[in-house]
């Protein structure tokens, strides 16, 4: 044992050997990190798919009735419908069938859109993605900015105003904010259209960029508003703790100006955690999209999710669930990577 330690320390001090070893550990560490994450993702997807299947099975909604509504059809027609929707299948048969389709490289066929699931998701997800990215950026920039201002001016009227604004937003549901904005800006003021991503009576191919952008504004603002509140409060809190730190005091003692210190030491120390928080908020973003799209009748992944759920379109629902799980997972993964590989303190701990 003692010999082992001796040889270990000997090799430790041979610098060139040590450097080599360090690189080896590093790539190994990265591979280990990604492998570990991949396994977690796999387990997550299996669990989520299983839960979705069970929920659909337990769902009180009869997809045939939901599809037909008030229409009257014959018994034979009903049987054909039942076969189309798969109501006669057991849970085991459903799972097996879905896994077989998945193994053949497709996600199946959406029953309500009558198109391959991948195609439906691609189209709907793209529409939502623009909405989500725009509001994600707005909430990130505005939330961080407000947080920095409130933190820097801690205790002043500005800070109190921002704090109150955040508390109100934080305690208000997204859909309600959407309704209020719709009433104020679309109904009373008439500045924005009431809903839909395309003007009524126009084909979606002929919509111009500006028309599309114009209709995106209100939903995007609604979606970003809730994200702003939590990020602002977080940023404010972090900045205040930086302001109370010894290094901030020393910077002050060295005659740096206040806003210079906020910029050089404050933002430098809070930007990384704030970006991580913003990536971690992908799940809220996705959940918010579903509500906002309902309120604004914006045809995106949110509306497709609601439709798939209410009408038991199992293949589409599962497809959306898996894609959204991966979406949120990637957000969390980015946040993890930022912490582990960008922060110089953690980065070096990995090296050693």
């Amino acid at each position: 044992m003692i010999y082992f330690y001796k040889s270990f320390f000997n090799s430790f001090f041979k610098t060139n050997l040590y450097t080599l070893e360090m690189i080896k550990i590093n790539s190994k560490k990265l591979a280990k990190f990604l492998g570990y994450k991949a396994i977690r993702l796999l387990i997550l997807l299996v669990v989520i798919a299983a839960i979705s299947f069970i929920m659909v099975q337990l769902s009180p909604i009869d997809p045939v009735k939901a599809y037909l509504g008030q229409r009257i059809v014959s018994q034979e027609q009903l049987a054909i419908m039942g076969e189309y929707w798969g109501t006669n299948l057991t849970l085991g048969e459903r799972v097996l069938g879905w896994l077989q389709t998945l193994a053949s490289g497709s996600m199946g066929f959406s029953l309500i859109y009558r198109a391959p699931v991948t195609e439906v998701i691609a189209q709907k997800f793209f529409a939502s993605l623009t909405l989500m990215i725009v509001s994600w950026i707005i909430s990130g920039v505005v939330g961080f900015g407000l947080g920095v201002i409130a933190g820097a001016k801690e205790g002043t009227l500005t800070d109190k105003a921002i704090k109150t604004y955040c508390y109100i937003l934080q305690s208000t549901p997204t859909f309600w904010i959407g309704l209020v904005l719709l009433m104020v800006f679309s109904v009373y003021l008439g500045w924005f259209p009431i809903g839909l991503s395309v003007p009524i009576g126009q084909l979606s191919d002929t919509v111009t960029f500006w028309q599309w952008l114009y209709r995106l504004i209100l939903p995007a603002i609604t979606l970003s508003i809730v994200g702003i509140a939590s990020l602002t409060m977080y940023t404010r809190d972090k900045l205040i703790s930086v302001k109370n730190s010894d290094y901030f005091l020393f910077a002050q003692a060295r005659g740096e100006s206040f806003w210079g210190m906020i910029k050089n030491h404050g933002i430098r120390n809070i930007l990384l955690p704030a970006i991580s928080i913003q990536f971690l908020s992908f799940n809220e973003l996705f959940g918010g999209t579903i509500l906002v799209e309902q309120v604004f009748a914006y045809p995106g992944i949110g509306q497709a999710t609601v439709a798939a759920g209410l009408r038991s379109d199992v293949p589409l629902l599962l497809g959306i669930v898996i894609i959204s799980a991966i979406f949120v997972f990637v957000g969390n993964l980015i946040a993890d990577v930022i912490y582990q590989y960008v922060d110089p303190r953690l980065r070096s701990e990995d090296d050693e």
Partner: protein, 315 residues
């Protein structure tokens, strides 16, 4: 010759709210008087947590907002107002902080030493100056790109010292420069600080380590329960018979080389009406309980004790 730094009757208190809206003023420094000449090292010696650092903070104007300050601080004969403090700090008056925690953890040390710059030209000039000062203290170029957490204890000390010296200040305030350092690093720090004196700078050394104060300073001010009770030369501190205040005598007798004689009692936490040392004093008189002695000059030594006031009166 005007004094580099003069602190006259400085008191610092903090307003706190205890139990709801009851305001409570806690006095941390009471009636502090001290001065530093060019070419001189003055040590403020006091126990940990007694508020010594606040003296440094008030000279630099970086006290927290709920503090209340009375008394005056003069720099080169000019009263230091908040505006003047803001103008001078980092240039004429610099702080050497306690530890590496005073450096921004996410900023490379050279960048931090250079600090804020208005344009690229200023940055380049400061960069050259930074390199100069760093090399003077044996920090080679590889240190420039290190983050604070990558520095060893000794290196961190030199970085903090070089950072303070970058602006070529006249007055340096060293706030506990030797905590947790090994013996060799302490010796190095002491010689670095002594070296500053030879460059005609004044140093205010704030420390709780009596040996560091004895080896470094020309004069030592003893800080007891928020009061300066004696300011004497470091030479006189070598022998308990040459210092005046009973607490200082007890302090010197408690050193290992002087017999390790310990006395009972603790420093009062709150400001007292009479002499802060009354409770533990072996030579106390009746009036010491209700009256506070003033800091007076007794044959060139500043002393806060009625025993010497009377001697003065009689002579």
């Amino acid at each position: 010759m005007t004094k580099l730094l003069e602190v006259n009757n400085l008191s610092i208190s903090f307003t706190q709210y205890v139990q709801g809206l009851n305001r409570h003023d806690s006095k941390v420094i009471t009636d502090l008087t001290i001065d530093v000449n060019e070419n001189e090292i003055v040590a403020v010696l006091g126990s940990s947590g007694s508020g010594k650092s606040l003296l440094a903070h008030s000279i630099l104007g970086i006290l927290p907002y709920n503090s209340h300050v009375t008394g005056e601080i003069k720099y080169k004969g000019e009263v230091l107002t908040q505006e003047l403090k803001e103008k001078l700090r980092g240039k004429e008056i610099c702080l050497i902080p306690q530890s590496v925690n005073f450096l921004d953890p996410l900023m490379k040390v050279s960048q931090q030493a250079i600090g804020e710059c208005e344009d690229d030209k200023e940055r380049e000039e400061k960069k050259i100056r930074q390199r100069e000062v760093f090399s003077k203290y044996g920090l080679d170029e590889s240190v420039d790109d290190l983050y604070p957490f990558e520095l060893s204890g000794g290196m961190a000390r030199k970085v903090l010292l070089s950072t303070a010296l970058l602006g070529d200040p006249n007055l340096l305030i060293a706030d506990e420069p030797t905590p947790g350092l090994d013996k060799q690093s302490v010796e190095e720090t002491i010689s670095d600080i002594k070296n500053l004196k030879e460059q005609d700078k004044g140093v205010l050394l704030i420390t709780h380590e009596i040996n560091v104060a004895l080896k470094t300073a020309d004069r030592i001010a003893v800080f007891y329960s928020g009061h300066v009770i004696e300011i004497n030369t470091a030479e006189n501190f070598k022998d308990a018979d040459n210092v005046l205040h009973p607490y200082t005598k007890a302090l010197i007798n408690s050193l290992p080389r002087n017999g390790f004689k310990l006395t009972e009692g603790v420093q009062p936490l709150d400001d007292v009406i009479g002499c802060p040392y009354y409770e533990n004093c072996p030579v106390r008189m009746d009036k010491c309980e209700k009256n506070k002695p003033k800091l007076i000059n007794h044959n060139g030594v500043m002393i806060r004790c009625f025993n010497y006031e009377e001697v003065n009166d009689e002579s």
